[in-house]
Symmetry: C2
Subunit: 187 residues, 2 copies
DNA sequence: GTCATGTCAATAACTGGATAGTTACTTGCT
DNA sequence: AGCAAGTAACTATCCAGTTATTGACATGAC
């Protein structure tokens, strides 16, 4: 039993990810997190303050990792949507975690607000340059693209045998976004 | 204080809707539901069994009302998506309630499975008849349409000033679905 | 080298408040 | 009277957060 505080911190964070993804904030049990982490409950309070702050840390890490592995690409939105789809497919806990966050901690963080603003701005630019149909407001377009990329995880479609058709679902998302952003000649 | 059991039942159900939409199952407080309903806590247990069963009843009523006021229309999916959008706009509690359900009671009920099957079947028919592009599997298409219709409520786009742009958002949804189902000549 | 000292990591047992569900009782209607 | 509706007070459990204490390791004095 080496005494390694950063390893303990990391184990707690990982266990908390599991627990929060499964039960949300209200349903999560601090004792269970401590057990799963193989750590003492007290350390959770030492390292993270309380249950809510621990949740915030879990979210923060997930968002950072997401931003890192799925860079925004205003000029190729179908590909961006496909990348989001892949990212969500890779870990089923992720979408659940984000849904809990929307329900239990809906306040947009500064980080999120800033990332949102950056995306809409670069989307507007892509529209001016003719890569994306300018029919919709950039913010609206972003919402629609995200809605499509997440559709399998926010609706009943993501049921039992979803894994077997993953490739087809992904292709459907990519195609749907392609149709959405396709530049049309003025009628 | 008239003694009217069905009125008490209804008040409890309405208060439970409020409470569950706000806090989910784990976060909901039975005492608070009783207070809001102006009913005695005991009556909740008499009429509904326990907290989970009460939640199930709230969901059941919401789903029934939804099915009633938003009939599926495979031959005009943009309109269907618009109707879903309107239905969700009319009561912000609704989408929250459905999200809690996905997270806390994910099992698909028989009712839901049946309604899902009916929709995909009639969608397949609409594709054969040329009303809907047959590029995608009907089940996938349904998922995408729902993803679009709910996009403002499942993503960060549904923030503060969303109400002011509701009409524009609705139009965006309808247009996005129109593009999605548009029949294309074979390339 | 080894022993005292300070510091950080970790633990088990506890506390106080909350909370789902119950019991025993009262009220009002017919 | 008799039954259904309603009530208040209770219980047993659970659970977030705390307290008091022990164990590990490094540093430096001698």
């Amino acid at each position: 039993m080496a005494r390694d505080s950063s390893a303990t911190k990391a184990r707690i964070l990982e266990a908390a990810f599991d627990e929060f993804a499964a039960y949300g904030i209200a349903g999560a049990r601090v004792d269970r997190i401590a057990d799963t982490a193989g750590a003492n409950k007290r350390m959770i309070y030492v390292y993270y303050g309380n249950k809510e702050q621990l949740f915030d840390q879990v979210i923060l890490r997930a968002v950072e990792q997401g931003a890192e592995s799925v860079p925004f690409d205003a000029e190729n939105l179908p590909r961006y949507a496909g990348a989001i789809f892949d990212h969500l497919s890779a870990d089923p806990r992720l979408m659940r975690l984000l849904m809990w966050k929307r329900l239990e901690r809906p306040e947009a963080t500064a980080l999120e607000a800033e990332s949102y603003a950056r995306k809409t701005a670069s989307l507007a630019a892509a529209q001016r340059e003719g890569h994306v149909d300018p029919a919709h407001d950039p913010a609206d377009l972003l919402t629609l693209v995200l809605g499509l990329a997440q559709a399998w995880y926010t609706t009943a479609g993501g049921g039992a045998d979803a894994a077997r058709h993953r490739a087809a679902h992904r292709a459907a998302v990519v195609d749907a976004v392609a149709r959405l952003v396709e530049v049309r000649e003025a009628a």
